[in-house]
């Protein structure tokens, strides 16, 4: 047995940081604000690292019950935290990458207004994210789930004076609410079928009833999927993530690449006992994942904003993870969560460093030739690009290849999934190297390059970022380079440590696994990755005028991609506009006629007011209201009288 691990300290410390910075940060000097924020994330990291070092001596799952929360009636829930292998991996990612991003932010945000506010929100996010992964029941997990959404809303809308940022924050929040509602419905169904929300109880009940296959289990799983598609930006709810790039770049790295968006993956992995009973739900996941991976990658090809390329790439990579979940390869999905956290955080932070260097410009068409001016950023970003493109021995290669292999050997239509994944790998490599060439090679197309002899008001020329920003880049680059060795599969003379680590809790007892030519498949995907590079090299290095010509030639396709398949517009037209029309014309025009302009009469005294009043009564306003009332009453009475209940079930 072990002593208490005091897990509760892990989320509470960032929360304290949030309180201090949020309440009095405005009055504190910047150095103190950053010190508080950094310490509030460093302590949890150290604690997690400490737990990691004697992890093998802890009996798992380790549960820490902090007291009961809701008692009585049908179910109860506790403030309870849990630690097992899955939580451990997530904790390491969140606190480790989170701390690096906090360090980076002190440099990146140094000249921004609302410095204290930024760090307060960042710590708040850490609190909710850690709660999400540490929770021992679905209710507490949901608190974290909704909380990270709130923190994300606050951070996306950080530049709230900019209208587009405020809109993007709202969009993210509302779209996420739709996902959350799926999660809530799943919870309600769990309460009524399992009588509890505690992981232990729920999974125990499921294990006791092997006869439960499909049926209501599928319904619960589908609602969970809806929740996951909201948080992890999958079809049909992915639309908020690209817009979320309105937030400061470290936020994109932390929330919209490394941590929050993987919450959906975590949730499905956590509830895999339920998914294992529903082949239909698993297939749905696999299809959603593969489709999103491919679809987002095609959009990524034509984006010109450096952060948006990365955003679509994140959506696409999350698609890989969801696909892995869909073929029940849960530990492969988690492996990709881990490596993706490294290289995508790296890419975002490096992109931030580029943006920083060119004074806030995000359009790659006006970058170019930067590699000599910002060498550290260049080298580290290269590692990230190579890693995501699946070129060995960098991290992305092993995790992505593991997913492709698992898809290939999965019995139901796995070959199709594998093929879609392979094509996506090609596209990924292409658009990432496209980004690399456009940013770092070719002519320098920045305004500074054009007017070298002019002096600009506030730009200081292109410059490398300070050490607080480049050191995190270097650390992440090292991790992106070697992180893959954690999971080298047996088929490649490795030991697949991460698979064995997660195996006890994630691998279903009875999984149908086929055999496949692992090495050959890996070779194929390396070739595909190199082909993508070669093509990008040809288009964006050797013949940089070619893409424009091609775009003209295939203008229909290009427009389709450039406008992101018009999905935003379609959603707007099908959902938002009708709602607003109903709101405006049916409710406002027909029923709610409002107060007749009373402004002119306000001046009159009581006597005059009384006269106006009578006029008003006769104006028909009240009569129409009474008419509606009577109409409603009549309908209700008719319905009651004929007792339509006997024929009509609303359940």
């Amino acid at each position: 047995m072990t002593d208490s691990l005091h897990l509760w300290l892990i989320p509470i410390v960032p929360f304290a940081g949030f309180l201090v910075n949020g309440l009095v940060g405005r009055k504190l000097p910047r150095a103190l604000v950053s010190a508080i924020a950094l310490i509030a994330t460093l302590i949890p990291f150290l604690q997690v690292a400490n737990i990691w070092f004697h992890f093998s001596s802890i009996s798992k799952p380790y549960v820490e019950n902090l007291g009961s929360w809701i008692v009585g009636g049908a179910f109860h829930a506790d403030f309870a935290l849990q630690l097992d292998q899955l939580t451990m991996i997530m904790l390491l990612i969140i606190t480790g990458v989170g701390f690096l991003i906090h360090v980076y932010s002190t440099g990146y945000m140094a000249h921004e207004d609302g410095y204290w506010r930024f760090f307060a929100y960042l710590n708040l996010f850490m609190f909710f994210m850690l709660t999400l992964v540490l929770a021992e029941n679905f209710l507490l997990m949901f608190v974290g789930w909704e909380g990270v959404g709130l923190a994300s809303y606050l951070l996306i809308g950080f530049y709230f004076l900019r209208d587009s940022a405020a809109q993007a924050g709202k969009k993210a929040f509302v779209v996420n609410r739709i996902g959350d509602f799926g999660f809530l419905l799943a919870m309600f169904l769990m309460i009524s079928h399992f009588g509890s929300l505690s992981y232990h109880d729920v999974f125990a009940v499921v294990a006791q009833h092997p006869e439960w296959q499909g049926g209501f289990i599928t319904v619960i799983a589908l609602f969970l999927i809806l929740g996951a598609t909201g948080k992890s930006a999958q079809i049909p709810l992915y639309i908020w993530l690209p817009d979320a790039m309105e937030g400061p770049t470290p936020v994109s790295a932390l929330i919209h690449a490394a941590t929050m968006v993987t919450a959906g993956i975590y949730m499905v992995a956590r509830t895999h006992a339920i998914f294992d009973r529903s082949p239909f739900a698993l297939s749905t996941l696999a299809i959603i994942g593969a489709a999103t991976a491919f679809f987002a990658a095609t959009i990524g090809i034509v984006q010109t904003d450096i952060k948006r390329v990365l955003a679509y790439s994140t959506v696409s990579q999350l698609g890989y993870m969801v696909m892995a979940l869909g073929v029940a390869a849960y530990s492969s999905a988690l492996f990709h969560v881990l490596t993706h956290a490294f290289f995508k955080a790296l890419l975002f932070l490096a992109a931030g460093s580029v943006i920083h260097a060119v004074s806030g410009e995000q359009d790659m068409r006006v970058m170019g030739g930067l590699w000599k001016k910002i060498p550290i950023t260049f080298v580290t970003m290269t590692v990230g690009v190579v890693a995501i493109s699946g070129i060995p021995p960098f991290a992305g290669f092993f995790s992505k290849d593991e997913i492709l292999y698992q898809a290939f050997i999965s019995p139901n239509g796995g070959k199709i999934l594998w093929f879609v994944g392979l094509v996506t790998a090609f596209l990924t490599s292409f658009y990432m190297f496209r980004l690399w060439y456009m940013t770092f090679f070719g002519e320098n197309r920045t305004p500074e390059a054009k007017h070298d002899d002019h002096s600009h008001g506030h730009s200081h020329g292109i410059h490398e970022s300070p050490l607080v920003m480049t050191v995190p880049l270097m650390i992440l680059a090292v991790l992106s380079a070697i992180g893959g060795f954690l999971g080298v599969p047996e088929g490649m003379w490795g030991h697949n440590e991460i698979g064995h680590f997660l195996g006890p809790i994630l691998d279903p007892a009875s999984r149908v696994v086929g055999e496949g030519p692992e090495l050959a498949l890996a070779g194929l995907s390396v070739l595909v990755g190199l082909a993508g590079w070669a093509m990008a090299h040809y288009f964006y290095y050797m013949k940089p005028e070619l893409p424009a010509k091609l775009a003209q030639q295939f203008s229909a396709v290009h427009r389709l991609l450039e406008n992101k398949y018009w999905i935003d517009e379609i959603y707007e037209g099908l959902i938002v506009t009708p709602l607003l029309l109903v709101s405006r014309y049916v409710l406002k025009g027909l029923i709610d006629t409002g107060i007749i302009d009373g402004a002119g009469m306000a001046a009159g005294g009581t006597a005059q007011g009384l006269g106006a009043l009578v006029q008003r009564v006769q104006s028909g306003n009240i009569r129409s209201y009474a008419g509606w009332l009577a109409f409603g009453a009549a309908v209700l009475l008719v319905v009651t009288y004929f007792g339509f209940t006997a024929h009509f079930s609303v359940r």
């Binding site: 009636g73 029923i591 306000a602 009474a626």
Partner: protein, 489 residues
């Protein structure tokens, strides 16, 4: 049972009546120039005493008084405590926002207190005519209060609209009582349940049920009986809206619970689908109506329609859990709504300096505490965890789903997604840069009474969101004593 003096069973009502009478007696003999705010503090004292008396009633054994017309049980006391608390905060908001020189202020406080007496009677009465008298006492005071902005043309219009349409609805309610009496020969709630089985005219009872639903539907502004709500809210003084959007509604919901589960449980085949539709319709109409509103009070009016819909969803559950969820929701809704109207009456003042959403731009900078509190209440209205609004919705839809109403849950949660949209618009306005010519500069410093009221509601909303257990246990106790009375499945 008879060892408890009968007067103890109506102690809070008696205390409040005495308070109201005292105000009416003292106010005319006060010097003309003296501020009537002291009357406000007197009514606060009376309400505090009534609140204490209500809490004290918890230890009384369950029993009836006055020929079986009044009953104190965990259910009625629960609502007594709730209503007294709401009245308390509304009084604080009124004290701080009413203009000093207003000469009718004494009446104002008197009416609030008398209205509260009616609401308390509604929740403790177990005989339909006493319920009706309680309803009338509370309604008539609210009609007058709604028209209290006499200098503005909107005020009397609001009052007259509320009066005419309200009387219309009350007539339905009364007619429903008459029909139930015709069907069963009694107006005592428990006896109705007993005699319904052997009634020769069951259809008459069904018609009575429909009539009563219409009357109560109007009072709680459930769609399709909601038409009056936005206009009346817009025209009435904000502290009054804070009161009338919560306390009379809580009382009306309590009455509806008592009648449906106490008197007509055997007719649930009829009323469950009806409530299903009322609930779904109210949520949808409320949220869609609010989407396009620019006026903050109208927006909140539509929001209150939507919340009535959420609450009605719990009625369909046909279980003690459903009753508890409905009671709990009434508490959370009251906390956040009274709170937000306290802020509105502070920022907007008695006569609505601020009306449109744009007018609220930058409030959080001008008055950080009040703006922050308003944003907090809005987050609770959205239903974010760690606020009361989250658990309110959680219990309600959990109860509905537990009884198999999956679609109602889906409609409800989709609606709460739409709701986030317009609440966020208001939050965003609070924290955006104020325009140059903002009337915001006229906003005074928050007074002690206001700070106290807002503090109480923020604390209540937080407590309900973090440790809801105690209130939920009280709600469950109310539901349980009640369910054993009705003894139905």
């Amino acid at each position: 049972m008879n060892t408890v003096p009968q007067i103890f069973r109506i102690l809070p009502e008696v205390i409040l009546t005495v308070t109201g009478v005292l105000i009416m007696l003292i106010e005319p003999v006060m010097p003309k120039s003296a501020s009537r705010k002291s009357m406000g503090w007197l009514s606060v004292l009376g309400t505090l005493a009534a609140l204490g008396a209500s809490l004290w009633q918890y230890q009384l054994p369950v029993g009836t008084a006055y020929f079986g017309t009044i009953q104190t049980d965990a259910f009625s006391v629960f609502f007594h405590v709730l209503i007294c608390s709401i009245v308390l905060v509304s009084l604080l908001a009124a004290i701080s926002s009413a203009p000093r020189e207003m000469d009718t202020l004494g009446e104002y406080f008197g009416l609030v207190v008398f209205g509260a007496v009616g609401m308390l009677f509604m929740t403790s009465a177990v005989e339909l005519l006493v319920v009706f008298i309680g309803l009338e006492i509370s309604s008539i005071s609210t009609y007058i209060l709604a028209a209290f902005r006499r200098k503005s043309a909107k005020g009397p219009e609001a009052g007259i609209k509320y009066l005419l349409l309200g009387s219309f609805a009350t007539a339905f309610f009364l007619y429903g009582i008459a029909m139930l009496f015709g069907a069963t020969g009694t107006t005592v709630i428990s006896q109705i349940a007993d005699r319904l089985g052997s009634s020769h005219l069951p259809l008459l009872a069904v018609a009575g049920l429909g009539m009563i639903l219409i009357g109560i539907g109007f009072k709680v502004s459930a769609a399709p009986f909601q038409v009056w709500t936005p206009d009346v809210y817009e025209g009435s003084p904000s502290p009054v809206v804070g009161l009338m959007s919560t306390a009379p509604k809580a009382a009306a919901f309590a009455v509806l619970l008592r009648i449906l589960y106490g008197a007509l449980p055997t007719l649930h085949e009829y009323w469950v689908p009806l409530l299903w539709w009322l609930s779904a319709l109210s949520m949808t109409v409320g949220n869609l109506g609010a989407l396009r509103q620019r006026n903050v009070k109208r927006l909140l009016a539509y929001s209150s329609i939507a919340h009535a819909g959420y609450l009605l969803a719990a009625f369909t559950a046909l279980s003690a859990d459903g009753i508890a969820a409905a009671s709990f929701y009434a508490v959370t809704y009251a906390a956040m709504n009274v709170g937000i109207f306290a802020v509105v009456s502070y920022a907007g003042g008695y006569d609505d300096r601020l009306t449109l959403i744009e007018d609220y731009r930058g409030l959080a900078y001008r008055a950080p505490v009040m703006g922050g509190a308003m944003a907090f209440f809005l987050m609770s209205l959205i239903g974010i965890p760690f606020t009361g609004g989250f658990f309110g919705k959680f219990y309600v839809f959990s109860a509905a789903l537990h009884s198999g109403f999956l679609w109602l849950g889906i409609i409800g949660l989709l609606n709460s997604g739409i709701g986030a949209f317009y609440y966020l618009r208001l939050i965003a306005a609070l924290y955006s840069k104020p325009s140059e010519a903002a009337p915001l500069n006229q906003i005074p410093r928050p007074s002690f009474a206001l700070l106290l009221g807002v503090f109480l509601t923020v604390a209540a909303t937080l407590i309900l969101g973090i440790v809801p257990g105690r209130v939920l246990a009280m709600a469950k106790a109310g539901a349980a004593t009640f369910y054993s009375v009705s003894a139905s499945k």
